[in-house]
C-alpha cells in the first residue's frame, strides 16, 4: 500500500477522460498519481506488467445481495466481496434485505466493519427504506446515512404504498441519496416466471411486464411531484423502458439499471423447469431483451448492475414454485456483457466500462469510476479477448446458482486493485 505501483504497458480505457490507448498508470498513496506514456516510476515502485491487458477504472455494482446477516449459508460479506473482486468490481452496494434487515445505524456500522475486515472489494451499505422493510414507516434515514448508508431501498420487495414512496422521495433530498426501487405491483405479482407463451405451456404462473411498468410509471410521476432521485432497479420490460425514456426527455432525476442476464437471456431458459433461470424480475422475451439493450445503448438506462443473488444448491434443487428467485452474477457479469454487447459489435469496450464503472459513479456521486489523477486507485486489469468457460465450481461466491454454467464468455479480469492495493490476482 505504501509503495508506489506502476501499471506499465497496458491499454488504458477510461471513458471518463475519453481515453483509449496505450499508457502507463502510476499509483501512489492509494490514489491515481499520473496516466501517460512512458511514465518513469520512482525507483521503489512496484511494477505490474499490463502489456496485452486493458487497464480501466474498477467496476461498480450498485445492486448486490451479500446475505449477511442471516443468510450466511448463501453468502457472507467476506465471500461476496471476494467474488466481486474476481469479477473486477472495486465497489459494491449491498442491499438491506438481510435477516434482520439493515434498518438501523448499528446494522449499517456492522456491515462496514465486516467489509473492512474482509479486505475484499469496498462494500457500501444500502439502508432499508422502511422499518423492517415492511413498507409502513420510514427508517431514520439521517441516522443511516451518518452511519455510512449510501442509499435506501426495500429491494426484494417494492415500496408499494404510494404515500410512503412520495415521502421517501421528499425526505431523502436532505441527505442527497437515491431511493432504489424494486418496481413490482404486488396486485399483479404472485407469478414465478414471465407471463407469456412459455409460462402458459409450462403451466407456471406468470409475472406480466405491467407488474413492473405500472410502478415505474407511478414512481416517475412522484419524482415529477417531489424532485427526489429515483433509481429503478433491474429494468426488464419494454413498457418500463418507454416510461423511462419519457422521464429522461423531461429531464427528471430518474436513473435506472439493467442486469447482465436481462441483456441476453429470455424466458425460454425456464423450459424444463430450470430453477437457475428463476429470477425476479423474470427473464422476458427477445422483444424485451432488445428494448433494454437499446435503452442501455441510448442512455435511457444508465448503468449495468448485477442483482447478484446467491442461493444454495438445496434451495434451487426444488420444484420451480418453491425455488427462490435469483442469479449469482458478480463473477460472470463482465464476460456476459462482453458477449451480449461488445462481441456482437453493439457497444465498444469503452462504452461497456462507461456503463459498469463511470456512469454508476457519476449517477451515484462517487469519486471513483475514473483514472483521473487524485481519484482513488480503484482499477481493474483485464484481457478483453480471453475466452473462458463458466464453471460454477470456480466461483469465489459461496453459492453456485447460475443459468449460464458451461457458457463460453469473452473478457476476463486478471487483477483488481482497491485503493492502490492489488487485492485480486488470477492464478
Amino acid at each position: 500500500m505504501n509503495r508506489p505501483l506502476l501499471l506499465r504497458g497496458g491499454r488504458v480505457v477510461d471513458p471518463s477522460q475519453d481515453l483509449d490507448g496505450p499508457a502507463d498508470v502510476l499509483v501512489r498513496g492509494g490514489k491515481i498519481e499520473a496516466v501517460g506514456s512512458d511514465i518513469a516510476g520512482p525507483d521503489d515502485a512496484e511494477v505490474l506488467d499490463a502489456s496485452g491487458q486493458v487497464v480501466a477504472p474498477g467496476l461498480i455494482d450498485v445492486h448486490v445481495h451479500l446475505r449477511e446477516p442471516g443468510g450466511e449459508h448463501k453468502e457472507t460479506i467476506h465471500t461476496g466481496s471476494h467474488a466481486a473482486l474476481a469479477g473486477g468490481f472495486t465497489t459494491v452496494w449491498a442491499m438491506p434485505n438481510t435477516d434482520p434487515p439493515i434498518d438501523d445505524p448499528a446494522a449499517v456500522g456492522y456491515l462496514r466493519l465486516a467489509a473492512r475486515a474482509a479486505r475484499g472489494t469496498q462494500v457500501m451499505p444500502i439502508g432499508a427504506a422502511s422499518i423492517g422493510q415492511k413498507g409502513e414507516r420510514m427508517t431514520e434515514i439521517g441516522e443511516l446515512v451518518k452511519a455510512g448508508a449510501v442509499a435506501v431501498s426495500d429491494d426484494g420487495a417494492p415500496v408499494w404504498d404510494t404515500g410512503l414512496m412520495r415521502r421517501l422521495l421528499e425526505y431523502t433530498q436532505t441527505f442527497g441519496i437515491p431511493v432504489l426501487q424494486h418496481a413490482e405491483d404486488m396486485a399483479l405479482a404472485g407469478g414465478v416466471m414471465n407471463e407469456g407463451v412459455v409460462a402458459t405451456a409450462l403451466g407456471l404462473r406468470g409475472l406480466p411486464n405491467a407488474a413492473e411498468s405500472c410502478i415505474v410509471a407511478r414512481d416517475i410521476q412522484l419524482v415529477e411531484l417531489t424532485g427526489g432521485h429515483l433509481h429503478v432497479c433491474h429494468v426488464s420490460a419494454r413498457q418500463s423502458v418507454e416510461q423511462l425514456g419519457m422521464a429522461k426527455e423531461k429531464g427528471l432525476t430518474v436513473t435506472s439499471e439493467v442486469t447482465p442476464h436481462h441483456l441476453i437471456l429470455t424466458d425460454e431458459m425456464c423450459r424444463g423447469y430450470n430453477t437457475e433461470a428463476k429470477v425476479n424480475p423474470p427473464l422476458r422475451t427477445e422483444d424485451d431483451v432488445e428494448a433494454v439493450t437499446q435503452a442501455l445503448l441510448d442512455g435511457v438506462i444508465d448503468i449495468i448492475a448485477t442483482d447478484h443473488a446467491p442461493h444454495t444448491y438445496e434451495e434451487k434443487e426444488q420444484e420451480f414454485d418453491y425455488a427462490p428467485f435469483g442469479i449469482n452474477g458478480l463473477e460472470t457479469a463482465f464476460g456476459l456483457c462482453m458477449r451480449a454487447l461488445v462481441q456482437p459489435g453493439r457497444l465498444s469496450l469503452s462504452g461497456l466500462i462507461d456503463r459498469m464503472s463511470c456512469n454508476p459513479a457519476r449517477i451515484m456521486g462517487l469519486d471513483s469510476g475514473t483514472l483521473r489523477p487524485g481519484a482513488p486507485a480503484d482499477i481493474v486489469v483485464l484481457d478483453p479477448g480471453e475466452q473462458w468457460t463458466v464453471d460454477p465450481a470456480d466461483f469465489r461466491s459461496r453459492s453456485r446458482n447460475t443459468p449460464i454454467a458451461g457458457w463460453e464468455l469473452i473478457g476476463r479480469v486478471n487483477h483488481t486493485l482497491v485503493a492502490g492495493e492489488i487485492r485480486f490476482e488470477r492464478n
Partner: protein, 324 residues
C-alpha cells in the same frame, strides 16, 4: 409444434403429451383397446405386471384419478402402495427428491405422481431411474386424462384428425387443458378454448389455439366440447364475480346445445358442478360421454403402465391372452 414422426416413441416416463408424436399417442390409444375388455370380465385381472411394484405418490387430494390408476395397476397384477401427503414424511419437511430416493431404495419399478407444483413430475423423472407417470402436476399437464378424453372422442366419432375440439372454462389453471391441446394437435385436430378472458392464459394463441369469448360461438364451431370443472375458489380469488353469472354466460345448457349444428360430443373430466359449468340435462343427456370417459380411464392407464414396463404397441392382445 410436433413433427410428424412415423414411429412409436415413448421414453422412460410419461410426464406430458407435449412433444409426443401423433404415432406415439395413437400407439397408446390403440394399446388401450384390448385392455378395455379386461374390465368387462368377471375376473378382472391379467398378470401383465406381475411382480412389479408401483407407488402412487399423491401430494394433492384426488379420488378418481388415484382410484383409476389403482384399478389399472391391480388389474394388471402389480403390487401397489398409496402414499398421500398427509400420511407421509412430506409433512415433516422432507424434500420431494428425498422422498423419491427413499422409495427408490426400496426397489420400486414405477411412480405415479400427483403434485400441486407444475414441473414436479419431470423433476422427479429426471432424478430417479424408475418410470414416472404424471397424474397431474400443478397447472401443467395431466397426460392420462387427455389420453382418455381422446380415446373417448375416437370411440364416439371414429377419428381425431380433422375434428374441432373446444375446451371450455378455466384454462389458466387447467392441466387437463394443456394436455388436451398438445395431444389433440399432435393427432391433427383443431383446438380452441372458450371462457372468460380472466381464465384464458396469455400467449395461448401462440400455441395455435383459437379463443372464443362466447359459448354460443364455441358450440357453433365444435365437434366436441371438453367442459372443465370451475373451481369454487376462482370466485373468492377474483377471477369471476360469481358462479351464478358464470353459468348464465358460459354454462353449457340444453337450450344452448340445442342450437348446435351437429351432435356435439360432451366431455367433462369431473367432478361435475351441476348447474355451474354444465346443466344436468346436458351432463346426463345422449351426447354426454362423461361416464365412458371414466371407464376408458382405466384402460388408458393400463396401456400406459404396460408400455412403460416394456410392452410394445400391438403386443397387448397377446400379452393378456398369454397368461390369463
Amino acid at each position: 409444434m410436433n413433427q410428424a414422426r412415423p414411429e412409436f416413441e415413448l421414453g422412460k416416463d410419461l410426464v406430458g403429451l407435449e412433444g409426443l408424436s401423433g404415432a406415439t399417442i395413437t400407439g397408446i390409444l390403440d394399446t388401450a383397446e384390448p385392455f378395455k375388455e379386461i374390465s368387462e370380465r368377471a375376473i378382472k385381472k391379467v398378470p401383465v405386471l406381475r411382480g412389479k411394484t408401483i407407488v402412487n405418490l399423491f401430494f394433492e387430494p384426488s379420488t378418481r384419478t388415484r382410484i383409476s390408476f389403482e384399478f389399472a395397476e391391480k388389474r394388471l397384477g402389480a403390487d401397489t402402495v398409496n402414499i398421500s401427503s398427509s400420511g407421509s414424511s412430506v409433512v415433516k419437511g422432507e424434500t420431494l427428491v428425498d422422498t423419491a430416493r427413499n422409495l427408490e431404495a426400496m426397489r420400486i419399478d414405477m411412480v405415479v405422481i400427483r403434485h400441486s407444483s407444475s414441473g414436479a413430475a419431470s423433476f422427479l423423472a429426471d432424478r430417479i431411474p424408475s418410470n414416472v407417470i404424471n397424474a397431474g402436476d400443478g397447472q401443467h399437464e395431466h397426460p392420462t386424462q387427455a389420453l382418455l378424453d381422446m380415446l373417448t372422442i375416437r370411440d364416439r366419432l371414429g377419428r381425431i384428425e380433422g375434428l374441432k375440439v373446444c375446451i371450455v372454462g378455466d384454462i389458466v389453471h387447467s392441466r387437463v387443458a394443456r394436455s388436451n391441446i398438445f395431444g389433440l394437435q399432435a393427432l391433427g385436430a383443431e383446438v380452441a378454448v372458450c371462457g372468460p378472458r380472466s381464465l384464458i392464459p396469455r400467449g395461448i394463441e401462440e400455441l395455435g389455439v383459437e379463443s372464443f369469448n362466447h359459448i354460443e360461438d364455441a358450440i357453433e364451431w365444435a365437434d366436441a366440447l371438453n367442459i372443465l370443472r370451475l373451481q369454487l375458489e376462482r370466485m373468492s380469488t377474483g377471477f369471476i364475480p360469481s358462479l351464478r353469472e358464470y353459468n348464465r354466460v358460459f354454462g353449457v345448457t340444453r337450450a344452448r346445445l340445442a342450437r348446435a349444428p351437429r351432435d356435439t360430443v360432451i366431455l367433462h373430466p369431473g367432478p361435475i358442478n351441476r348447474g355451474v359449468e354444465i346443466d344436468s340435462a346436458v351432463a346426463d343427456g345422449p351426447q354426454s360421454v362423461i361416464l365412458p370417459q371414466v371407464t376408458n380411464g382405466v384402460a388408458v392407464r393400463m396401456a400406459v403402465l404396460y408400455l412403460l414396463a416394456g410392452g410394445v404397441p400391438g403386443g397387448a392382445e397377446a400379452a393378456k391372452q398369454e397368461i390369463s
